[in-house]
């Protein structure tokens, strides 16, 4: 074990050692967004340091810079006081920095041992002939030492996500990583597994390693971290000791809104029941359940927003209501009628419109023309087809109408959809969904990646839909947006609706707490 303890790293004159990792003034820009705005971050050897913030706060970008995936536009990185430059992930790996991503970098058909040793060119894996027995033994040793129970000979696809995560950590330990970064590690763990993980991380820190724990969950951060750095809007807002902070103080740092945000005076009378979800469950992509007993109602003419940090089942909930995902349990009623599980057509027929999160991948057919995309759902209608034949002229006319009405900036109705900017693409999706005269509109992260002007436009359309009597289910990670638009706010956490309030009674701090898994103080 070559990780040095604090004592060894002190300089000859006994001065305090430089931090294990220090990032100064990091700036990273992407088209249209400033992801990191002069961020400072440092973590010492032997500590568990949490990086806390909402989505879009810049945490992932910062860690990707540290692991060599991105290069910063400005700023410096120091490892043990020495300036370093990472040109590729391999440089970071060589510097003993290892990151456990949210989406694991494993080969599913390989055994645990094979995954651990893949790409290793210093340890057991460096020989031409692999000595499987020796590798498995080493993995078993590490596994036992750190309490990461996993069978070195098991195939990864057989393992649960929690066990797969242990494999990733074993990879780090095998490479004697000094700095270990974990990105939202508890997203795939049960509470018990999370506790075990925390123990492991504590132990690694005691050995002198640096553990950086990226999360948005307050109580976990408080449970495992020594210090917490809070990022908000691309800036580092504060670095506090976890022991001294309270859940509330962390929540307000993370969400940090002034309470005098805009309160639009709006008297909307809710109409009839448009959507009724009762104890809905559905599975995520990896086979585990993503939606766990969600219950919610939406009336015509009101905007119900579901707040929550990404990854708590919102996307899956939207897809389930839209029919793209089968509900495994529970009931979904649209205007009183049950829709067939997993059948988008029945949802569409029932009057459900869906603006998906993934515009380009799901919401449009990218190589097809704008006109075709505008007719994507309505092409079977009398207005667009004559029996089996398409009325191409009419489709084109409609497209021109819609392009004008929604001010979509496009080379023409025949241009392929993939050419459009994000904002215009979203307008196409909205135009199409509205033109279907829906009863319920599901909008999932509708303003993600859009510029200010486009955001305002989308907001206007959502309000207009509500004014027309459509029930709007808005799913968003942006609390600002929710507070601006919603009549009622529900909070989703770990697959269930954990709290609900009307706009007037909404308290930002409480909502933040709920989003992060804290307790709703009004619950008895």
């Amino acid at each position: 074990m070559t990780v040095q303890s604090e004592k060894d790293r002190r300089g000859a004159d006994g001065a305090p050692p430089p931090p294990a990792v220090e990032m100064r003034g990091i700036v990273k820009r992407f088209p249209g967004v400033l992801a990191n705005d002069r961020v400072d971050f440092e973590a010492a050897a032997g500590e568990v340091h949490a990086l806390l913030g909402e989505n879009g706060a810049g945490k992932s970008t910062l860690s990707n810079i540290l692991t060599g995936l991105y290069r910063p536009d400005a700023g410096e990185i120091f490892i043990d006081g020495e300036p370093v430059q990472f040109h590729s992930p391999r440089d970071a790996l060589d510097a003993r920095i290892f990151m456990v991503h949210q989406h694991f970098r494993l080969v599913e058909t390989f055994t645990v041992a094979e995954n651990v040793v893949l790409g290793d060119h210093r340890g057991e894996g460096r020989t031409f002939r692999l000595r499987h027995r020796a590798i498995e033994q080493r993995v078993a040793e590490l596994s036992k030492r750190y309490g990461l129970a996993v069978d070195p000979r098991a195939r990864v696809w057989q393992l649960s996500l929690g066990e797969q995560q242990r494999v990733e950590i074993l990879k780090a330990l095998y490479r004697e990583a000094r700095i270990l970064i974990l990105d939202e590690p508890t997203a795939v763990l049960t509470p018990q597994e999370a506790d075990v993980l925390f123990e492991t991380l504590r132990e690694m820190a005691v050995e002198g390693r640096t553990v950086v724990f990226i999360s948005h969950k307050l109580h976990e951060v408080k449970a495992v971290a020594d210090r917490v750095t809070v990022l908000r809007g691309g800036r580092s807002v504060a670095t506090v000791s976890a022991a001294d902070a309270t859940l509330r103080s962390l929540a307000s740092l993370m969400v940090g809104r002034e309470l005098d945000s805009v309160q639009p005076a709006r008297a909307r009378t809710a109409g009839e029941l448009v959507l009724e979800l009762t104890d809905v469950w559905s599975d995520g992509d990896r086979g585990d359940s993503a939606v766990r007993g969600a219950s919610l109602v939406v009336h015509g003419g009101e905007i119900v927003a579901v707040a929550g940090v990404a990854g708590n089942g919102q996307r899956e909930l939207a897809e389930t209501v839209a029919g793209m995902r089968r509900a495994t349990r529970g009931e979904i009623l649209v205007c009183g009628k049950a829709i067939r599980a997993g059948d988008p057509r029945s949802a569409i027929a029932a009057g459900v419109a869906y603006v998906p999160e993934d515009r380009l991948g799901t919401g449009v057919a990218p190589s097809l023309s704008i006109a075709s995309n505008l007719a994507l759902k309505g092409y079977r209608e009398r207005s667009s087809s004559h029996g089996p034949l398409l009325r191409i002229g009419r489709i084109r006319e409609r497209a021109v109408e819609l392009i004008q009405r929604y001010s979509i900036a496009a080379p023409g109705p025949g241009a392929p959809a993939r050419l459009l900017s994000g904002g215009n693409l979203q307008k196409v999706v909205l135009a199409r969904e509205f033109s279907g005269k829906p009863r319920l509109l599901i909008a999932a992260s509708p303003t993600r990646g859009l510029d200010v002007g486009a955001i305002e436009t989308v907001h206007a359309y959502l309000r207009e839909a509500a004014a027309d009597g459509v029930g709007v289910l808005l799913i968003s990670e942006d609390l600002d947006e929710i507070l601006l638009l919603a009549d009622r706010v529900a909070v989703m956490y770990e697959g269930a609706i954990v709290g609900e309030t009307s706009r007037e009674e909404a308290d930002v701090e409480e909502i933040g707490l709920l989003m992060a898994g804290g307790q709703d103080p009004r619950a008895d």
Binding site: R105, E114, L118, H121
Partner: protein, 322 residues
Amino acid sequence: MNNSLLVVVLASGVAYGTPLLYGALGELLAERSGVLNLGVEGMMLVGAVMGFWTVQRLHADTALSLAAAVGVAAIAGMAMAAIHAFLVITLRASQIVSGLALTIFAGAAGLSSYLGNDLNLADNPARHAFSAAVFPASMQRLPVVGPIIFGQNVLVYASWVCVVGVSLYLSRTRLGLNVRAVGEAPASADAMGINVTAYRYAHTLAGGAFAGVAGATFTLAITPQWVSGITGGAGWIAIALVIFAFWRPALCLVGAYFFGALQALSPQLQARGINLGPTELWANSLPYVMTVVVLVFVSASGARRRLGAPASLGLPYVREER
């Protein structure tokens, strides 16, 4: 005993199955790295013609000529594979269309015939050919195992060595682990510092080399002569064989001899005046039907993970432009 139908068919099966085995081993390597190469037939034919040409041209003793011929055949196959590799790995062209183009380019109506006719290779028997002279005649006369195992030529024995070699390579070496990672999860392999492009090129070219040797087996061993289109579809069977063998070298051997025996069955039956009627149709179609059955089984049963194709087969790899 050794002239019985069974023994003769099995012995011929081994002989006919050898080019299938070489072709399958090569394609297996390419596919393990994620590259589908449908041009095996074309590569085999070019290997066949160039190997033959070498043996006709070289004025040296038998062993040296044959060795050189096999070497040239391998290089010729590699050259063909290089075209496909460049198109699909670097230029990210469709692997299916490119492979088919290679078959047309190099195949019986293409380059191999062009070279064969231009170099006047037809109508002459090979100057040197592989013969069943490896083991003494006494061993070859042993009942059953004599003709089947000891009565084969060097290329057959070499193919056994290759099966063992490829098998060990994939399962026991670091490079083999890496190439399997490249085929299964190129993104993960890339993240762990493995050069996906290099591995794909290397293994596609290796596939070409094997295919070239497979072709040489025809012109230097089986019918030591060159005729346009001499492989008669063996390349396509080799592709099917890889799937039939679940991408495992040892099963390729079993499958190759099975297919080979089926191929040997027909002429033997005719020579003995036995007419099996419709059974013959089944016998001929059996390998292909079985391959389909195997494929359906793998995809339907969800055993894909354990038994199926490398996950990235047929897809170009692009490091994410995130």
